[in-house]
């Protein structure tokens, strides 16, 4: 007499094959082991973190705990804040330049608006821009033409922003409802009128949200461009680390963190409002959050 258990066992379907997963795992593990074996990282120094990090964090917090109104600490605080504001200004102008340039380009990269060959070419251009870090734009193109300073940084951020904004905006344009376009077409509107009255109203909130999202990314990028001399708070970061002035490093990092978090919050609130309209909406809008492009 067969037990119920045996019947159950016989009736369960066989689990799916795990061969492919296993092969993937083995390949990934091999790549990782190869990297571990090849890389000259001198792992014995990892232990130093345990000893050094607390010491340096102690030195940093000493700088933070100094009376911020007394000299010379007040000067350090105000210099950090002034330079962080410069970073924010770079991020703002950079985002604005990126928005102005990417807006028309986005239409050329959207397959439901532009002809196929144009779309393919424009998309490749956007991919190329996205593959290059802003700091390289600053080094290679902007500093030679505009000299050192925040202007070169802002323009590097501007060109760098075109890649992301163009891609995201064109995807938004591709996702529109085609009804209004048909209606205008039937009414005999020109191509420009079609874009102005059928496409732009649908995608504008989403695209403005992308601009703000990119602004949040540009704040982070603008905080480091100074390392190569393109303005903002990065310019003193490099110097301070070279001079090992830990007290001032602590102050500068805290200024970067606090300002970035605050501006992020404001920007996120504005984005939320743009996407889901005024009023308290509990639903999370389906828009990207600032990571890094």
């Amino acid at each position: 007499m067969r037990t119920a258990e045996a019947t159950a066992r016989k009736n369960t379907p066989a689990p799916p094959s795990k061969v492919r997963t296993t092969i993937w795992l083995i390949v990934s593990a091999a790549i990782v082991l190869w990297a571990l074996w090849q890389v000259d990282a001198r792992w014995e120094r990892v232990g130093q973190i345990v000893t050094e990090a607390p010491r340096y964090f102690g030195l940093m917090s000493q700088g933070l705990l100094q009376n911020p109104i007394a000299e010379p600490w007040s000067a350090y605080w105000s210099k950090s804040i002034a330079l962080m504001i410069e970073s924010l200004q770079m991020a703002w102008i950079g985002t604005l330049i990126g928005a102005i340039i990417s807006f028309p380009i986005a239409f050329l990269a959207a397959s439901n608006v532009a002809p196929r060959p144009v779309v393919l070419v424009v998309r490749q251009v956007l991919n190329i821009i996205r593959a290059i870090p802003e700091i390289v734009f600053a080094l290679v193109f902007m500093i030679p033409i505009f000299g050192l300073g925040p202007l070169a940084g802002a323009l590097a951020l501007g060109i760098g922003s075109v890649g992301t904004l163009g891609k995201l905006s064109s995807e938004a344009i591709e996702g529109i409802d085609l009804g209004p376009m048909e209606a205008l077409d039937a009414a005999g509107a020109s191509k420009i009128q079609l874009l102005r009255w059928a496409v732009v109203p649908q995608v504008l909130p989403e695209i403005v949200a992308f601009w703000l999202y990119r602004f949040e990314i540009n704040i982070r990028a603008g905080a480091i461009l100074g390392i190569v001399g393109a303005g903002g708070i990065g310019s003193i970061l490099g110097q301070l680390f070279n001079g090992r002035e830990w007290g001032r490093i602590g102050i500068t990092l805290v200024v970067i963190i606090v300002v970035t978090v605050i501006v992020d919050q404001i920007s996120a609130a504005v984005r939320q409002r743009i996407i889901s309209g005024p009023g308290r909406s509990t639903s999370k809008a389906d828009i990207p959050e600032p990571v890094v492009d």
């Binding site: 090849q38 990282a41 130093q48 290679v140 300073g149 202007l151 390392i227 970067i256």
Partner: protein, 271 residues
Amino acid sequence: MTAPAVRTVSQSDRPVKPPPSIGAILGLVAFLAITVYSAIGIEFTLTPLFTDAMRGREIVARYFDPAWSILTRPAVIDAFLETLYIAILATLVGSILALLLAMLASKVSAPTIAVYRVTKLVLSVVRSLPDVAYGLLFVAFVQTGALPGILALIVFNIGIVAKLTSESIDAVDRGPIEAVEAAGGSRFQRGRFAVMPQVAPNYLSYCFYVFELNIRASAVLGIVGAGGIGEIIDLLVSRLQHEELAAVVFALFAVVFVLDQSSRAIRRRLT
């Protein structure tokens, strides 16, 4: 003819266009004010584009005549490989740690609300510092080389992957979680059998995404002494060897592009 005259649509029949809201006006004013303030602050001008274009054009022209021979030098090849190793190891370690933190940073899987709040706060602080700042810190802690680069990118990756994954966890279907709880599963089993299968494709796709970022980032990290191809780029910039620099930048771009395309293909298959 006694047909009724067609009523012409007069202006008064049309609804009046609503006046712009106070919020919109304030927003526009704030936008213009910030823009003018920023433009003055960074001394915005485009004149160098026309006046100094010659000076810039000479340099930019040199970039379009790359000295490809530099790419065959062992030091440069090693630097490119080092960049790749840094990205692989940092992505692996960072992603594993990020998965644990992501579980704590979502209301669905966090043990208590307090843990969830604290984790979220910590993650947003971690994300607020750029990768280069971590590079500078770790170079100070463990000296220059590949190690600070790996460590800096691990921290940087945790910030990104944990945030994105925790948002995916927020959106999971609660059914399987209830089922596991009803069957008496532990907290770990709940995460392993109810949450993980649902977010795995997204999580893996985020891991590939940060891998691309890491290749790009390590080009920059070398400038502060954290290993990889950035050290070569920094050296060539300081020696003003523009032709060699151009070759390295083009090669870096080619590497990023190839990895970008292949990882995008993998990501498409995952989700």
